[in-house]
């Protein structure tokens, strides 16, 4: 039994939430189509394609064309979802997402699977660690990084039912703790308060929210009270929540399964320096490529596990006035 299960959390890959949402949404949205790029089962687009084979189209291993096809479907009035691994979507097809989708403001949703180091054994080529930076600088893009399968379900529903225009949803491969349930509120652009605290705020996204909850428990034992925000929407960013966190706790630690440069932490810092400067630290991948290994050992090796987060938090508190 691992630490997560000891905690009583059910483990499930967030990609399952993406697939389940697509299958459910298809029932009520006849205009919903999904375009895949040969990774149908792995991205969980298969949950949709098995139920609605007539509305699933494979682009083959050709992501640039896949994004273009999705754009064409959107131009024809459909809601088009394109799904593949994050490195191939946000990296390989970057200009297609920028110019064809965002510049034209088309109703295309990108399901970016295999985000983060926790992809595991496949190694660096398949571990997307740069998409948050790449996607959040695109005008008109909404960028969602949900914390677990349940939240990924809600993010996918919101992307399709609430947002007219480009959305990128980042989710992961490995089973991660399910820390939310059906009734947990989810609002695009509104950070979710996971836990109250007064000494610092940990702002996390994706599977790092659960890791931060464990970190906060360690800190609690040392008498440190950490507030936790689940920043599932990187763009548009919840400025109010960040300003409030800075004002109330006076220190901010960001935690993400992504390069420290340009990612969620940078997005938070942009708000903090402009509004209410407080000491900050960044937990993330330190300007290096990933490698093969089991998700948990990689999180430890790259300083993304709960113990590393707790250590970083203590280091940060020394700088707090």
């Amino acid at each position: 039994m691992n630490i997560y299960e000891e905690h009583g959390w059910k483990m499930e890959p967030s990609r399952n939430g993406f697939g389940r949402a697509l299958a459910d949404l298809a029932e009520r949205h006849p205009e919903l189509v999904v375009i895949g790029a040969d990774l149908t089962e792995s991205t969980r687009a298969s949950y949709f394609s098995e139920k609605f084979p007539d509305r699933f189209f494979n682009a083959g291993i050709a992501e640039q064309n896949g994004v273009g096809m999705a754009a064409g479907f959107a131009l024809a009035g459909k809601i088009a979802v394109f799904s593949t691994y994050g490195v191939f979507a946000a990296g390989r097809a970057y200009d297609q997402i920028r110019t064809t989708v965002c510049y034209s403001n088309l109703n295309v949703k990108i399901g970016g699977a295999h985000g983060g180091i926790s992809v595991g054994p496949d190694g660096a080529t398949h571990q997307a660690l740069e998409e948050i930076a790449a996607m959040r600088v695109l005008p008109r893009m909404t960028l969602l990084v949900p914390a677990d399968a349940e939240e990924t379900y809600k993010a996918t529903v919101a992307a399709i039912e609430e947002i007219e225009g480009p959305v990128y949803i980042r989710f992961g491969r490995a089973p991660v703790p399910t820390i939310t349930d059906k009734d947990t509120p989810f609002e695009v652009g509104r950070a979710r308060l996971v836990k109250d605290g007064k000494d610092l705020t940990i702002i996390a996204c994706g599977a790092m929210v659960a890791e931060s909850i464990l970190a906060a428990e360690i800190l609690e034992k040392d008498g440190i009270s950490a507030q936790i925000l689940d920043l599932h929407t990187i763009k548009p960013i919840d400025e109010d929540a960040i300003v409030k966190a800075a004002q109330e706790t006076g220190a901010i630690l960001t935690v993400e399964e992504h390069q420290i440069h340009g990612g969620m932490g940078s997005a938070v810092a942009e708000v903090v320096v402009r509004t209410n400067p407080v000491p900050m630290e960044f937990v993330g991948v330190q300007d290096r490529f990933g490698e093969s290994g089991q998700p948990e050992e990689l999180l430890r090796a790259f300083g993304l596990d709960y113990q590393s987060i707790a250590q970083k938090a203590k280091k940060l508190l020394k700088r707090k006035k």
Binding site: D54, G60, A62, G72, L75, G77, Q96, T99, N105
Partner: protein
Amino acid sequence: MLDEKTRERFSEIARRIRFDIIKMTYHAGSGHPGGSLSIADILTVLYFKYLRHKPENPNWEERDIVILSKGHACPALYAVLAEAGYYPREEMWTLRKFGSRLQGHPAKDKGLPGIEVSTGSLGQGLSIAVGAAMAFKYMDNSDRRVYAILGDGEMQEGQIWEAIMAAGHYHLDNLVAIVDNNNLQIDGFVPDVMNIHPLPDKFRSFNWEPIEADGHDLDAIDDAFAKALEIRGKPAALIFHTIKGRGVSYMENEAQWHGKAPNRELALRAVQDLGFPAEALDRDIV
């Protein structure tokens, strides 16, 4: 084959489009006249005979879609749209100016009627056309068609071949790719820079029907479109042999006129070449 009256009318329209291209780029001080002039005749036949559209209702739900994948040739597209009545002619002279709906490359978000999608980063338009054609054919059960206009140099982009593969795979007989084979790109002749030929063989092997024609012979263009619409079970590739800079003597077959506007003296010469009076160059310019 066109009847005599139509041929004459189309020839006049194409001549006006060429004049508008020169006038627009001259007053903009920049732009891409060469590859715009090469598609003037093709666009004339497409917009005034084959395209099912309603300029007064540009979002008409049954319309065919045109995607100018070689977005830099937008002066030609802007001219044909004005000619068809999509927007007032005088707006043409705002090309490339701050605040204009006529951006340096087509911009959907600026709202010029008739611009379906933003293009300009080469290689992307055919994929969009493929997606739209799939939506019409496989979801809407509609006979709406999609036309994508490609440059020959643009066919060096890998994404074009991904799209060609997909269109053949999905039997998109409601898709027509129009290749402006003017044989020139910025760095020189296409076969010297990076050869893309033989195009008909390549299209055929990807399950397309290639049709070659002279892109400046209005009857030949007409026949090519007519043939394309008869094809069932696969997409049609109209490979039009054209001359970059066609209609302006000093621009013809000169790579340097890919992305450069004429100065006043040369603009006046072009106007003369096209049979317009010199004063037409400045008419309605504020």
